[in-house]
Each structure stands twice: as C-alpha cells, then as structure tokens.
C-alpha cells in the first residue's frame, strides 16, 4: 500500500523559535542596558545599588508573576493593585491591635486568595468578562481600604515585621528572596506540571480544552486565586517595607505588573508567556528606571521608554500572529 502523499508545504518553524527569540532579545536589551549604565552611571554596580534594585523589584515582580498566570488564560486581573493595598491595611490593622505575625499573615493571605477565588467565580460561573469583573473589584477593594484606613496611614510598631523588609539573607535582601522563591515555584507549576499545561490550553482554545476533559472551571478559580494570593503577599511586603499601612499603596500597580508580563512575552490573546520572561520584564523596567535616575534624567523619561518598548513588543507579537495566519 502506498503511503499518503507527503505534505509538500514548507515546514513550519520549530516550536520555541519566537519565544526564544523574544526572550533572548529581552535578555540582550537588559545586558546592553546594564553595560551602558555601568560605564555611564557611577555607583550602578555598587552592592548598595544592586540591593536597592532587588528590593524595589520585589513587589511589582510578585504582582507580575500572578498576572502572568491570568494573562496566559487570555484573562486579565486589574484588581491586584487594590488587593495589595487592601491586604496591607488589614495587616497593619492586625499588627497594631497586637495580633501575632503568623496569625495575621495566614488570615490576610487566606482573605486574599478567597477574594481572588471570588473573581474567578464571577468570571467563570457568571461568564462575565475578566476586564469588567476585576475592574469592579479594583474599585470595591480600594474603597474598603480607604474606609478601613480612615484616610490615614496606620503604624503598627512591630519591628520584627519591618526588619524582614530591611534585612538581607546571605547578602541579598529578603524581599528579593521572596520574589525568587515565588518565581521558582511559579515556574515549576506553570511549565512543568500538568495543571500548568492546562493553563496554557485554556488560553489557547477554551472550548477545545473543555472538550478534552480539562476542568476549566476549577482552573479559572485557581488562576485568579493565585493572582489574588500573590497580590496579598506583595501587599504584606510593601507594608513591611514602608513600616506602615498606607491606604493608597498599590494604586496603579496593576498596570505596571501587566506591562512587565507583556514585556516578558506574555500575550493578551492568551497561551503565551513565561515566568522567566516576566522576571526579565520586571528586571528591564527596574534597570531602566534606576539607571536613568542615576544619570539624573527626569523619572518620567523611564516611563516614556517603557511605554515605547511595550508598544514595540506588542507590535512584534501581533506581527508574529499575522504572519502565521497567512502561512
């Protein structure tokens, strides 16, 4: 029996080509910037500056990791900035009332995960668009944060908690260690496990995933719960760093988190993205901001550059998609 005629169409690109190219490009930009700043800006490579950068990256980095999970499912979570502030205020209130750190920690994080879970319920069960649901939650949480904080910062005089944010472990700020541990855990789950694979599947073809037997409902609940939980952790870290609960903390941070994830290769269409990419995206923004500050540029210049890079990266992503569609 003759075999089927061979498909004569030119073979497609190997699987990781675009992702690898994007990530290498990103890494390349980071390295080039680092070299430029090392030469041009005195103090850039000093250990104190490195530590400052590591501390400064932690909060947005953790938010961006949570956002990555959600974006890969072709969803979005706009509530993470408000969640950060909300959890920060709760923690400050708890500590100021003398509640022990571990108890307060667990309680606040449980609330964060539950609120994220609630986002997921609305999005899956009520089939509401993630943009709208999480936008609504953004307002609700910020409102409660302001009420609980009564418009004021809340001090809590608990030095063990604040020391965590200021201290180092093995020469690296503890804040950064938290980011690294979370990043490693997230990368393991997202890229190596079956559940992680299902996250990509849902973003790639929701109906197809459902038909393949993937529990889309449970996975939706899970990714938004993860996003909420990580936002809660970020809130705790920021509160520790500022040594007080700030009802305005985190305002606008959701956009920084999304930008970092997209710079790192996540596509808002879903099914693209990686934890490493997101980490590099956060690193890129941090180095850019820090270097330009040291060179005495207006801090707004960094935002302009970041915005331009974001548009460029999204354009490349869009171009990639168009190119495939015409193939």
């Amino acid at each position: 029996m003759t075999g089927a005629p061979a498909d004569t169409r030119a073979p497609g690109r190997p699987r990781l080509s675009w992702d690898v190219a994007l990530r290498l490009g990103l890494l390349g930009i980071v390295i080039v910037l680092a070299i430029v700043f090392t030469i041009a800006a005195p103090g850039f490579l000093s250990s104190q500056n490195l530590e400052n950068n590591e501390r400064q990256m932690a909060v947005i980095g953790i938010l961006a990791i949570g956002e990555t999970f959600v974006i890969i499912t072709a969803g979005i979570d706009l509530s993470v900035g408000s969640m950060l502030g909300f959890c920060g205020i709760l923690m400050a209130l708890a500590l100021s009332h003398g509640i022990a750190i571990p108890v307060a920690l667990v309680a606040v994080l449980a609330i964060a995960a539950l609120l994220g879970f609630f986002n997921g319920v609305l999005i899956d069960t009520a089939a509401l668009p993630p943009f709208i649901v999480t936008l609504g939650m953004l307002g609700i949480l910020r409102g409660f944060t302001q009420i609980f904080g009564n418009g004021q910062q809340i001090g809590f005089g608990n030095s063990a908690f604040t020391d965590f944010a200021a201290d180092n472990f093995l020469g690296v700020p503890k804040l950064f260690w938290v980011l690294v541990v979370i990043a490693l855990g997230a990368a393991f789950v997202l890229h190596l496990t079956r559940r992680g694979r299902h996250v990509f599947a849902i973003g790639s073809n929701l109906e197809g995933a459902r038909r393949a037997g993937i529990n889309v409902r449970a996975m939706t609940f899970l990714v938004y719960a993860i996003s909420g939980l990580l936002a809660g952790i970020a809130g705790l870290l920021l509160t520790a760093r500022q040594a007080q609960g700030d009802p305005n903390a985190g305002t606008g941070y959701e956009l920084d988190a999304i930008a970092a994830a997209v710079l790192g290769g996540a596509s808002l269409f879903g099914a693209r993205g990686s934890i490493l990419g997101t980490f590099l995206g956060v690193l890129l923004v941090q180095i850019l901001t820090n270097g330009l500050n040291l060179l005495n540029f207006d801090p707004q210049v960094a935002r302009i550059v970041e915005g331009a890079l974001l548009i460029a990266f999204v354009y490349i992503d869009h171009w990639r998609k168009r190119r495939l569609a015409t193939a």
Binding site: A41, P42, G43, F44, S46, Q48, N49, E51, N52, R55, Q56, V59, I60, Q146, G149, N150, G151, Q152, Q153, G155, G157, A165, A166, L238, R241, Q242, A243, Q244, D246, P247, N248, A249, G250, T251, G252, Y253, T289, N290, N293, L294, N296, D298, P299, Q300, R303
Partner: protein, 346 residues
C-alpha cells in the same frame, strides 16, 4: 523656635482676637438684623480629600469650631484623592444648591475651581479658602501656610542639623519633590533653594521627582540619590510621601545618622517616632487644625457681614529631635487632644 512663635502669636492673636471680638459683634449683628443667631448659620466644609491624615486634622479643627458654637454643618467632605479636580467641582456645585451661609474650601486646583468659586460668591455665600489658593479674587478670606517660608525654614533646619553633626554647615544636599508643577510644592522647593543660599558652603547637587507615586517610587528615587552622591550630607523632602520614602530609603541603605540628615514636610505617627529616635532631623509642621478652625470662625464673622482680613498666614514650625516633646510641638502634632486656646508657652 522663635520664628514660629512670633508668627503664631501674631496670627493667633489676630485670628482669635478678631474672631472673639467679632463674635460679639456678630451675635449682635445677626440678632439685630434677622432674628437669627450664630447657631442658625449653615455651612459646608470641603477639603481636597478625606483620605489623608492632614485633611482629617483640618476637618477636626473645623468640627471643633462648629461644636463649640453650636452651628449646623451641612457637610464635611472631600473628593477621593488630591488629584480629583472634577470630583471637587461637583461637590462645590452641590453646595450651591444647599444654600449655606458660608463655604470653607481647600481648592484642589488654582484655576479649575475659579468659575465655581465665582458662582458661589455671586450667590451671596461667603467663601473662605484654606490651604491652597485660587486665582480668582472673589473670596472673603484665605488661610494658609506660607509654603515659601516653610521651604526656607526647612533649609535652615537642615543646615543646622548638618552643622551640629559635622561641625560646619557645609557639604552636598539634594531635594525630592512629590510631583512637579504643584503650586504648594513648587513654593516649598523654591523656598528651600532660597533658604540654602544663606549657607554658601552647602551646595545643592541634585533633585528628584517621585512622579506622584505615594508608595514605592519615593523610596527608589531617594535611594538612587544616596547612590549617586555617597558624600551626601542632607536631603529635603517636600511632602509627607516623599519624607516617608526618604526615611525608608535611609534605613534600607544604612545611612549613617551621624553623617546624613533628613528634613521634610508633614508628620505621621511613624515619622514622629523616627524624629524622636534621631533618624529624621526635622519635620516642618503646618497648621491644618488652625486652617479648619479659623476657617469656620472667619466664615461666621463674614456671614455676619463683617469685613475680615483677606489673608491669614497659619504658620510653619520645625519639629526637631530636641523640641519633639515641647508643648508647642505636641500641640501641633496632636491638636485634637493637646491644642489649647490661647498662647503656646514653648
């Protein structure tokens, strides 16, 4: 500090004296004219935002005046943020409909509120502006901090702290603004630069802008200043958020309090603790309580048809580690519990 006492005494005397004297007249004027007494007056009190320590203190001052005199406050309110201009305009326009006798207002923007203020004034409602100015002339009184003077006081406080630690008022300093283009902040920065000129050995080597971020960015920009200038002797932060951020940056960068000094505007519980511990060298205190209290008082007097002085400087004071526990500083820091009528005995 003597600078503050004079101003306070003068302002307090004028303010209080005018108010007390005028109250008698007011009571008389009102009673004679319309059969109304002070307690019949209605007013609205609109600040920039209620989500802030500073404005809560201001409101507390207003409420203290209201309660003591038994007036009816129609509302103590503000928008949801200091940047929400439209929100405040909406609140003021609602005020028109309620027909109060006077309005105490802290305009979020110098220009944007002008038209609305004019409308209020034309409706016969007395307008008392507090804290920030407007460009229109159609108001009855303006009670505020002299921000330029505050900046100069900060410069003086910083220089003296440096001198105490290093033996002379010399070295590199830098300043951080919360947001470029905000009138009160620009005045403070300018005042700082003008005040530092009195110390020729001190040079201003850099400044940063926190871009309006209240959380992490101030920490980052001050940390970067410390990195850029390892020999930095002093930093001036022109508002609460930049001062908080600077204090955190100092702590994280293990800035040596024996070598670097920090002075800035506006207190919080944590900053006062830092002050007492010597981690912060000076906090410039405004007097939001006075603005609120005096605002209501002036409103009452103006509503009685008396011409009040158009400008009242509510003054600035520098709180330092040395005077942190003085009666005056404590009164300014805890107006609700420790503010007395009368003169401070600092």
């Amino acid at each position: 500090m003597t600078d503050r006492n004079d101003t306070f005494n003068r302002a307090g005397f004028i303010g209080l004296g005018t108010a007390l004297g005028a109250l008698a007249a007011t009571g008389g004027a009102l009673a004679a004219g319309s059969g109304r007494s002070i307690a019949d007056l209605k007013f609205l009190f609109i600040v920039k935002t209620v989500n802030s320590d500073y404005w809560q203190t201001c409101i507390a001052g207003g409420k203290a005046a209201q309660e003591q005199l038994g007036l009816k406050a129609l509302q103590f309110t503000g928008a949801n943020s200091e940047a929400n201009i439209q929100g405040q305009i909406a609140l003021v326009e609602d005020a028109l409909a309620k027909k109060p006798d006077f309005l105490v207002l802290a305009p979020t923007s110098a220009n944007a509120l002008d038209a609305t203020i004019d409308k209020v004034d034309k409706a016969g409602i007395k307008v008392i502006l507090i804290d920030s100015s407007a460009n229109t002339e159609n108001f009855d009184a303006f009670l505020a901090t002299d921000n330029h003077a505050g900046g100069m006081l900060a410069a003086k406080t910083l220089a003296e702290a440096i001198k105490k630690k290093t033996g002379q008022a010399a070295g590199q300093v830098a300043y951080v603004t919360f947001l470029s283009g905000v009138g009160s902040l620009t005045l403070r920065d300018q005042g700082f630069l003008d005040g530092i000129k009195a110390y020729p050995e001190i040079s201003v080597v850099g400044h940063q802008d926190a871009g309006g971020d209240q959380s992490q960015k101030p920490i980052g920009v001050v940390a970067d200043l410390l990195t850029r200038f390892p020999k930095l002797a002093g930093v001036f932060a022109d508002n609460l958020y930049t001062l908080e951020g600077a204090a955190t940056a100092f702590r994280e960068n293990h800035a040596d309090p024996k070598k670097v000094s920090l002075v800035g505007f506006d207190p919080s519980t944590k900053l006062v603790a830092d002050l007492k511990a010597g981690a912060v060298d000076g906090i410039i205190l405004q007097d939001p309580y006075q603005m609120g209290f005096g605002g209501v008082m002036y409103g009452i007097v103006a509503a009685a048809g008396i011409n009040v002085p158009k400008f009242l400087n509510t003054g600035v004071t520098a709180a330092t580690p040395e005077n942190a526990n003085s009666t005056l500083t404590q009164a300014l820091l805890n107006p609700m519990t420790q503010r007395h009528f009368g003169f401070g005995t600092a």
